[in-house]
Amino acid sequence: MDITKLQQSFDTFKLSLGKALIFSDIFTADGLSLLSHNLFDDASFDDAKDANLNHQAISVALFSEVSAKLKKTLDYSGFPSLGRYYLLKLQDQKLFGVMRAPITSGLALQQLDATLAKNDIEDDIMWSFLLDMRYVNLGLFYSIILPKALASLREALAEDLA
């Protein structure tokens, strides 16, 4: 993993989305965040929040479990395997999503697609985000920002030590 490239792709994602990106985390399958961003310093979480808890860290931990379950159950039930992302349309014009890419050090980028389905979620890096849909052009997000972020994430993960 190239940490500089990972940070660059995270920064580019933040820059592309501006105030539409409420929070974002790049995290591992054990539910721990590697890189984290919160535009409003926890203000995105509703009034029911417990001031003693870090709700962004909780969302990372719980959605690492959701992602693992999703992948395992899709495989078990005969569906095609989990692809690159899933998205949840939420109340208050919010969109929550999780992108994933495998840690496949040493593999050529063109091999990653084939590897994606075969890898266990334990080998994945995940990238969650909460968007305010009032401030983002969805066409731009789906056609440019999302694929670009995934490509840069996979590039960062495929990087070997020199």
Binding site: S44, F45, D46, A48, K49, D50, H55, Q56, I58, S59, L62, F63, E65, V66, K69, L70, T73, L74, S77, G78, F79, P80, S81, L82, G83, R84, Y85, Y86, L87, L88, K89, L90, Q91, D92, K94, F96, L116, A117, L130, L138, G139, Y142
Partner: protein
Amino acid sequence: MGDLETCMESLKRDLAKALISSDIFASDGLSLLSYNSQEAAAAFFSELSVQMREALGSSALPQIQDYYLIELEEKSLVLVLCDNEFMWSMLIDGRQLSLGMLLNVIIPKYLKAFKAVVS
């Protein structure tokens, strides 16, 4: 049920080859209506929806409204339309349907029809 059947028939016509399978089911995982149903799809998506809602609730985030969308391998997508007690899952061949058509035409049209029937 009659109206749900009308919804399903209309979806099959609109999506044609793009629709691989579909299930309308209650939150307890019991299927009400199916088209080319994948085994245990209804139970799986109802359980997944519960886990997603619990994760959002525990994270103090807003709850799911209207739908969630999962990209799968082989250029396919799963769309799950959500009402309080009922869900409508669709396995879609992404090569046969643009994302713009799905998000801007199919989802609004069938969400409205689905909610009108089950509400």
